[in-house]
Amino acid sequence: MRLSHLACAIALGLASHTALAATAYVSNEKDDSISVIDLDTLEVTATLEVGMRPRGLLLSSDNKLLYICASDSDRVQMMDLATRRIIKELPSGADPEQFALHPNDRWLYISNEDDALVTVVDTQSDEVLAQIDVGVEPEGMAVSPDGKWAVNTSETTNMLHWIDTTTQQLVDNTLVDQRPRHVEFDLDGKRLWASAEIGGTVSIIDVASRQIEKVLTFQIKGVHPDKVQPVGVKLSDDGRYAFVALGPANHVAVVDAKTYEVLDYLLVGRRVWHMAFTPDQKQLLTTNGVSGDVSVIDVDRLKVSKSIKVGRYPWGVVVTP
């Protein structure tokens, strides 16, 4: 459908690609599908069948390819977004959960949750470049903007593992709080934000020294502290905000990214996992696993403006312009 749209637009020469609505892709863990959301209308326009238990999602730098961790299929799938077909399956190692793409657009760092490994795959040659031993239940993955570091979190070992991408070797470990779940570099790559689900904290780490600089905690009125379980972290490009998804606390924390002060808590759907900004960064989408919907946060007003029903147990989300 979108293809015909595009063809039409090109044929008429009236609209460029950017004039089309931005699109969100949401992985539904228990439906083995991807929900496609039109971000103009905020409606689900298509549901695409993919491999089993899709979780982590990411886009190629040109936004043409969608990578999908199909955890129970033990593979990473590559979808051509123009045709919405799976065009390739990469040898990911067992149970891929999250991954990160190197700025060179080729090296994919995949955490293999069941095998305590990080697998590095060349997305062009399909070769496995390296497998790196890390702690138990590797989960979060991020590559620094300069491409120097790949950082993996291991949920049971409670560490951040620093992998030097030039040698594909593990060179350092940072012990953080219980069950680190997600890591996110800031735009200039100076700091790394790491959430700890059971510890209930987010650690902000100075990348140069790999030391913890600040540990954020969260308190929400009327929510038991045990239910505050930070998962996804997103930083706005203007350096103003960090958003932290707090899992079964059903809230997203808004943090001042400069002073590290927690500014507000926004009520979203149940068990909020991950987030993605719209291209203009005016809206933030959250996946809410238990309630099976996506909440839309208005970033200027810091209010939740809408929720969109998707498939069962939505997990990952990415947005293309």
């Binding site: 012990l175 219980q178 689900e197 045990d226």
Partner: protein
């Protein structure tokens, strides 16, 4: 080769760190004893699906593997010394032998009496009880050097009866087997019934002195012909007759307790909050499903390792003090951070309610509030307990 490079690299990291601290980091060798004595339950009527004989031990082994993966980055090496014996005395002797070798941390999968004896003989050690659900150990006869990771019978019963209250099943028939364990389980159910407003309309003891020409199945409808109830509660810990109760009751009503809808510390059908990964790791390790004993032993070893990582010490009393403080959040894949109750050393934890192939619910149920921690609505709360471990009584 990969692994050796890794060890070398992590070593470099640590050596650098320790050089800064001007003292070489000693390699921390941690030995944990696993002591098991599982009494023979005697002949059972429903013995089609036997319980695994290595329940508990396999969980402890997996936790050692998990801990070593963290340990290799921290230069900590964990080792499990297992001793499983057919009688209590042999186990005591094995425990003393390990103690003589310097082991001071133990995970115990044994009945309450054996645990009492072990606690007395291993006075300077820390024992984690992963085998006895005895309520006395958590209420009036607390042992100074014992923490409990297996849920008590009171926790299980409260978890179940909260759910019955939510479903508004208010009248129960209670059927109790003949063993001490069955009587204790029934007592826990009575206590829970009183706490959460369940009315026990009739109680019957299962003696199986019925007409021997009839099978248990055939006997059940008549046996359960009492005043009307909404649910049959069964206390049959060994699994002797309880398996024959569902679908055989006089009134068409559900069965819950040790059979039917069952409260348990762990079950194959627990999968959320990262549990799926633990289940997979366990199945790869043991070749079978993880049960509540396995989980209790797993979390016991993980609790020790988490404390050791924090303290960088294996001192049993330091670990005990940290465990009984509010400062040791534990990851048990149950959706909440777990911690030990300071008054009786019981691990607070959500309790899954399961049927053989599905998770039915997880307690504490929504709406059962508690001034400090909703998980403390399960089992003996501070005010009901005469011991206070954190203060040393």
């Amino acid at each position: 080769m990969r692994a050796s490079t890794l060890i070398l690299l992590s070593c470099i990291g640590l050596c650098a760190a320790s050089a800064a601290a001007s003292e070489p980091a000693a390699e921390l060798q941690v030995r944990i004893g696993y002591l098991a004595y599982i009494p023979d339950p005697g002949p059972l009527l429903s013995n089609v699906i036997p319980e695994p004989l290595d329940a508990g031990r396999r969980g402890a082994e997996l936790a050692i593997n998990d801990s070593n993966s963290t340990g290799r980055f921290l230069k900590q090496q964990y080792q499990l010394d297992s001793a499983q014996h057919e009688d209590s005395d042999a186990l005591l002797a094995a425990a003393e032998a390990l103690h003589a070798e310097g082991v001071r941390l133990f995970v115990v999968n044994a009945p309450a009496d054996t645990l009492h004896a072990l606690s007395a003989r291993l006075g300077d050690s820390l024992l984690l009880n992963a085998g006895s659900a005895d309520d006395g150990l958590r209420q009036s006869r607390c042992l100074r050097n014992v923490l409990h990771t297996l849920p008590s019978r009171a926790m299980l019963a409260d978890a179940l009866v909260q759910f019955l209250a939510v479903r508004r099943w208010q009248r129960a028939l209670l059927v109790t087997g003949p063993t001490e364990g069955d009587l204790a389980y029934a007592a826990a159910l009575r206590r829970a019934a009183k706490r959460f407003g369940l009315r026990i309309v009739a109680e019957k003891a299962w003696t199986f002195d019925n007409d021997q020409r009839r099978s248990a199945q055939a006997d059940m409808p008549l046996f359960t012909q009492t005043a009307e109830y909404d649910v049959v509660l069964v206390a049959d810990e060994r699994g002797d007759f309880g398996e024959y109760m569902p679908y055989q009751t006089w009134y068409p009503r559900p069965v819950a307790g040790t059979q039917g809808l069952t409260p348990t510390g762990w079950h194959k059908t627990v999968e959320t909050y990262g549990a799926a990964q633990l289940q997979k790791r366990f199945e790869a390790h043991a070749g079978r499903w993880m049960n509540d004993r396995d989980f209790a032993a797993w979390i016991a070893v993980r609790s020790l390792a988490t404390a050791i990582t924090r303290l960088r010490s294996t001192d049993p009393m330091a670990i005990r003090t940290l465990a009984l403080s509010a400062d040791l959040p534990l990851d048990g894949f149950k959706g909440r951070k777990l911690s030990f109750r300071p008054w009786n050393g019981q691990l607070r934890q959500p309790i899954p309610l399961v049927q053989p192939r599905a998770l039915v619910s997880t307690s504490p149920q929504d709406g059962f509030l508690h001034p400090h921690n909703e998980m403390d609505s399960l089992g003996y709360d501070q005010a009901e307990v005469s011991c206070d471990l954190a203060r040393g009584t």
